[in-house]
């Protein structure tokens, strides 16, 4: 028992390393925010491309579908290793210097290259997950909405922008938050590139003094952020259900639609909510 307390919950170890751990967690937060925001945008773009009308755009639709299928099925770790290895090699003499350093070894906004490899990989992978969430949201908007929009003269693009996507986004905020929680946990993989995030710092402590308390402190820091997020998801879902119920009662049509689009979640996104 004593061993367990000392190995996992040595508060002395935690407080001695607090500033390093906090600095690491700050990197985790920044990775999550950059990766999260870019995935949100990229995922929406993919979903909208996937819904383009007409025969001429079919190749774009297939590209989008192929991309989504591929990156939902490839482990983030592999993407991360391929992105970091590829970009750094291609911008080195060994790879023929085919891309300039500022892309191959990015240090934008004063962040390190591993940080940006992480952001790019998270965006590639989570863009695919989020595209599926958006798609479920777009498909959950009743057909009549598109028809009504078209009947007052809107183009497909205008209808998507002013009518369909605003409704879809409202429906998909909870599942997107779930994806964000999963993304935040997955930032820890970037530590294998030597980025000093909270997991990297914890592992350093573990290998230096054979004590896991640094990693436990990291876990606690994650929970401080993810538990409130998970509660927020629950609250939003409950609110949406109340709203739908109310409109069902005051509305004498039978056109009630679902509140929660199904599917599109990465397999590990449900474990907190």
């Amino acid at each position: 028992m004593n061993f367990i307390r000392q190995y996992y919950f040595d508060f002395g170890v935690m407080s001695d390393n607090l500033s390093d751990l906090m600095a690491g967690f700050w990197i985790t937060i920044k990775l999550s925010i950059f990766g999260g925001v870019l995935s949100l945008i990229w995922g929406l773009a993919l979903a909208v491309i996937r819904q383009l009308p007409g025969r001429a755009t079919a190749p774009l639709r297939w590209l989008s579908i192929g991309y989504i299928d591929a990156f939902r099925g490839i482990p983030l770790l592999i993407v991360l290793l391929l992105v970091s290895g590829g970009l750094s090699s291609l911008s080195s003499p060994i790879g023929g210097d085919v891309i300039p350093d500022f892309i191959g070894k990015p240090t934008w906004l004063g962040e390190t290259s591993p940080f940006w490899y992480g952001v790019i990989s998270l965006t590639i992978t989570y863009g695919a997950y989020m595209a599926e969430v958006y798609r479920a949201g777009i498909e959950a908007v009743p057909n009549g909405q598109m028809e009504a929009a078209r009947s007052i003269g809107m183009s497909h693009g205008q209808a998507m922008r002013f009518v369909i996507v605003p409704q879809a986004v409202r429906k998909v905020i909870p599942p997107l938050l779930n994806d964000f929680i999963a993304l935040m946990k997955d930032t820890s993989l970037v530590s294998i590139l030597g980025l000093a995030d909270v997991v990297y710092v914890g592992r350093q402590i573990q290998s230096d003094i054979f004590n896991g308390s640094g990693l436990v402190a990291g876990a606690i820091l994650f929970l401080i952020v993810t538990i409130p997020l998970a509660r927020l998801v629950d609250y939003l879902i409950a609110r949406e259900q109340r709203r739908t119920k109310r409109s069902g009662e005051s509305n004498d049509s039978d056109q009630l639609e679902e509140t929660q689009p199904a599917g599109g979640l990465p397999p590990n996104s449900g474990d907190l909510s």
């Binding site: 009743p142 009504a148 929009a149 078209r150 009947s151 205008q158 049509s253």
Partner: protein, 251 residues
């Protein structure tokens, strides 16, 4: 009731199928300016499909549709869709209001985004339209706060905001509780009396008899009979029409 004899819409031999299901099998119909035409027929006879062909929500496969003497069907008509949707308004059975916009925004979004008109011009006009359909007290309400009849009246105002030359109504009272039907029909009656050209798919025989200039009976994707309401409703010639009217009038 102010038909001038000048044709606004000419539908010639229009065919439409979904897969192997032939839904429209050669529809011919001419609509004159200011005319109110009611389309009757059993469920599945192709009434909705006909309206959806007229505003090109479903492009017909064969035949022609001419709107104000311009052909809107056919491959050569990429601008046809724009031409039609700016001249033809449609009101749906399920209202299809935009639920994330208040009543006023539902009415203004078309002129603002599609016609690029300034807000200072669009908003007063939208308020006037909402007043005209008796909704001036509810301009800021969202659709889920409105009854079906109120939603349908906002939907009519939304279509009118685009200054359509022709209005299509697809069973616009069928989803309403009986006590809400009249408020919507009254708005349509008034529109008709102001000279709007209207094609009205309906099961409201009273409306067809009192308001329309002409009644069209459809079955099996064809127009079987058409004429003044008194004749088609009072003395139908085709057995199918007699049977249909018998069924409806008995109930």
């Amino acid at each position: 009731m102010t038909a001038t004899g000048e044709s606004v819409l000419r539908i010639e031999n229009v065919h439409k199928r979904f897969g192997s299901l032939k839904v429209l099998q050669g529809v011919d119909l001419t609509i004159n300016r200011g005319e109110v035409v009611c389309v009757l027929g059993p469920s599945g006879s192709g009434k909705s499909t006909l309206l959806r062909c007229i505003n090109l929500l479903e492009p017909p496969e064969e035949g022609r549709i001419l709107l104000e003497d311009k052909e809107i069907t056919g491959k050569a008509n990429q601008d046809g869709i724009d031409f039609v949707r700016r001249r033809v308004g449609m009101v749906f059975q399920q209202f299809n209001l935009f639920p994330h916009m208040c009543a006023l925004d539902n009415v203004t979004v078309g002129p603002l985004k599609v016609l690029d008109k300034p807000k200072s011009e669009v908003e007063p006009k939208a308020r006037a339209l909402l007043d005209r359909v008796g909704m001036s007290a509810k301009v800021d309400e969202y659709p889920d706060r409105l009854s079906g009849g109120q939603q349908q009246r906002v939907a009519i105002a939304r279509a009118l905001a685009m200054d359509p030359h022709v209005m299509l109504f697809d069973e616009v009272t069928s989803a309403l509780d009986p006590e809400l039907v009249k408020e919507v029909l009254d708005v349509m009656r008034e529109l008709a009396s102001e000279g709007m050209t209207m094609i009205v798919v309906t099961h409201e025989m009273g409306f067809a008899r009192d308001v329309s200039d002409r009644v069209v009976f459809m079955d099996g994707g064809k127009v079987l009979e058409e004429g003044p309401p008194a004749e088609v409703l009072g003395n139908p010639q085709q057995p199918r029409t007699q049977k249909f009217l018998g069924l409806v009038l008995d109930h």
